[in-house]
Assembly symmetry: D2
Homo-oligomer: 261 residues x 4
């Protein structure tokens, strides 16, 4: 089993901001992909906002088992038709991991159906992540807590739906808390949100953070075939009903019709 | 306490289809509103797709505690800016009830972040709804099950996220099942999906169906003030941090900045 | 509508420990009940471990809409038959609020089906509770966060099932976090766990804490009739089947039998 | 990876009832184990109620990755100390699958904290199970629905907590529905309830049922080390606090104390 991961990077601050470029000479997406590729069961590649179709062509999506998304400064530049392609793929069974500021990315907001807002502070403060679900696959190999000495603060209330499971909660030096690891399922797709990763700090070089992302890839991976049309709403006509039926009342539709959308 | 309900009706088949017009001479929205107004604690009004801004002006939304949505043939005609106004209001605390074919309406799909698809058959078959959450407020006053002699079939798999609670599950004569009553919360807004109500059958004249909708209105009502800006993501600058902090590391933002979207 | 609340107090440390007696001259249960009785819609009484049947006779339970439970030093002294009476009542629709060290009480453990363990430290440190579900009924009237200057620390991982909703998360001065407000439903009963309230600190004199408990009482209250036998598993014999059936195969039971337990 | 499964069989009706003995000459537990052992990744053994410590010695539990439980006529004969051993193991990470009438078994009731009741009818009627969570690991390889021509009916309301996920819902010929596949997590243990399997019908010889149980074993398996003491509630004394603390206020406990239970 090899899990094919595509790491999507916005790739804006890495090109424009000197500090970010120094922290991430391979860019954020390159750093994450390199860490994942240390695992023989994962084959990670990268694409960016600047690529044709943001790198997420139909072919690329078809070859992606798990998509990782990092974006911050250019959420609005992502084309809606690509967002729709991504959400369709998730509904069909592609796993997806949203990192840090991707809480405001178009695909995350679409999949959550919620404001996804929070409070924030950029002060390089200490963040301590606590495992709230012991022996959860995404926390495999981790201690009960781990620290990131300098991170951006994200604070509650975090405007997301109740998750399936809360895996991590963060403590911040300045006095806030945040649900930092949350699992969801939409259609056949497993979704994980993971908080850390402000671009001016070396978070994605941290081995525990890398371990979490690697664990999440394996958790999110759905080995079953992608659902071809995850939006299909088939008419089951009377002649193929599983139990004997006699039609009654008036009809709006004829057999096999597609219905309204 | 009076709960202000706005019943949104698509009002297409009632105008174009003779059968529907005969079953619902007051239209579907009018029938539902009339039933709700029998309750002294509810004040229901109606608006339709054909009204200016589909009847959902900023003023009307501000005066709506719970919105009820019925649509089928013209989901695509609902303007995106109105959909956004509705979802913003839900996130801010407006309750919303989606009925039957509204599973494919724009606001429901936006709030679910999922395909919301299903299988269906229009044969006027028997539907029996079972209460799956005893003494749930939405099932108040109901027996363990009730029947609708002629209804459209909706079948699983229903492409929605796991709900907070499953309140009803339907049995269909032709052999299918469906999760017919589901609760969600998005932002501060309570959401209820209720399955029955194909327009060629007299479902909304059924007193038990009316009881469920009335119960759901009371359940969905959030008496607290609407959140003014449910998408706000305030910067909490260092000088107002709750615990003493010393800034470290590089910054992308300056104090009080709005951040990226 | 008057909600009848019974506050159950263990009443051990209030009698034995001088500090606790000074902080709570009316005992913890008395302090909580007095605060609740300031609300005209609530009628709170108290019972204690030392009362006959721990004060929870069948009559008292029948007259209790919402039970509040505070215990710490004597969980093991609560008789199993009383625990069973409490859980049966919860399943039948009685609301229940577990406070602080009641995480290890028998009825909470029975209702959770989980270890309910945590880490802890008694150092009189600062606790800051953050609202994680905006405009939730239990957070009504509260700011986004509030502080308790001296409290015992409870830390994650908290060994409870995923809740229906996480309403509060605590930040602790010493570096831990904790899910401090959690909602559950078991049978027809609404359950709320609320973390604060170590007996050597004046937590239950705090007006915001009192507000949360009062809100939780209203949230937990189920106005519907208590289910008489919440454990009933009735046999639905063939002659009363809702759809026509012909018996097939061998049987173990005869009609109307009680079945095995 | 080999998953060690222990199939626990009550083994009463197989010995006493002629019909059951004919349907299951290897007994129910033997039939299930044989089917699982066809999978090279699973190593299944069996134990029964009649074995010493019901076959669930500390050693056997330590060597069990996933426990499968079938019981019906003799729930009350299972010793409480064995039940406690089982629930402790689940909390520590052992997977567990409860089949059919095990809804009223002691360990299931303990883990659910709920009445677990339902309605039932023994008429050999048709059951059709619908997948409600597409591409869920437990439904891997299954069509959208499958049928069991003769089964006992279980009907809603099913007195269990809201699950993490609803995987199957059953349609019954006599007019009822039932949530037939439900996932839970308690502590580090994954729990699956699967409805079919009345002992007078050949359900466990059905290849789709066998596939579901095999899928569920893989889903429930937690490869991480079993938590040694899943009930531990360690005191985190001030001297090892993660952030600097100065003790304040009065104490009940001294450093490193075990606390109250």
């Amino acid at each position: 089993m090899t899990i094919r991961v595509t790491v999507w990077g916005e790739n804006v601050h890495e090109q424009k901001n000197k500090v970010v470029a120094e922290v991430y000479p391979k860019a954020i997406h390159g750093t994450i992909a390199a860490a994942l590729n240390a695992d023989p069961n994962i084959q990670a590649t990268t694409v960016t906002l600047q690529d044709i179709e943001h790198g997420l062509t139909a072919e690329k999506i078809a070859q992606t088992d798990v998509l990782i998304w990092w974006g911050h400064a250019a959420h609005g530049d992502v084309e809606d038709k690509i967002v729709e392609r991504v959400t369709d793929a998730v509904w069909g069974g592609m796993g997806v991991i949203f990192l840090h500021s991707a809480h405001f990315s178009k695909p995350f907001k679409r999949l959550m159906g919620a404001p996804c807002n929070l409070t924030w502070r950029e002060a390089g403060e200490r963040e301590r992540l606590w495992v709230t679900s012991r022996q959860h696959p995404i926390a495999q190999g981790l201690p009960d807590h781990f620290e990131l000495e300098t991170e951006e603060m994200y604070g509650e209330p975090f405007g997301v739906p109740e998750p399936l499971e809360t895996v991590f909660i963060s403590w911040f030096q300045g006095g806030e808390v945040f649900r930092s690891g949350l699992t969801y399922r939409r259609g056949a797709g497993n979704i994980f949100y993971f908080r850390p990763g402000h671009e001016t700090y070396p978070t994605y070089h941290n081995s525990t953070v890398q371990q979490v992302i690697s664990n999440a890839v394996k958790w999110a991976y759905n080995p079953q075939a992608r659902i071809a049309n995850p939006n299909d709403a088939p008419n089951t006509s009377i002649d193929i009903a599983l139990e004997p039926l006699v039609e009654r009342g008036a009809r709006l539709h004829h057999d096999g019709e597609k219905g309204f959308r």
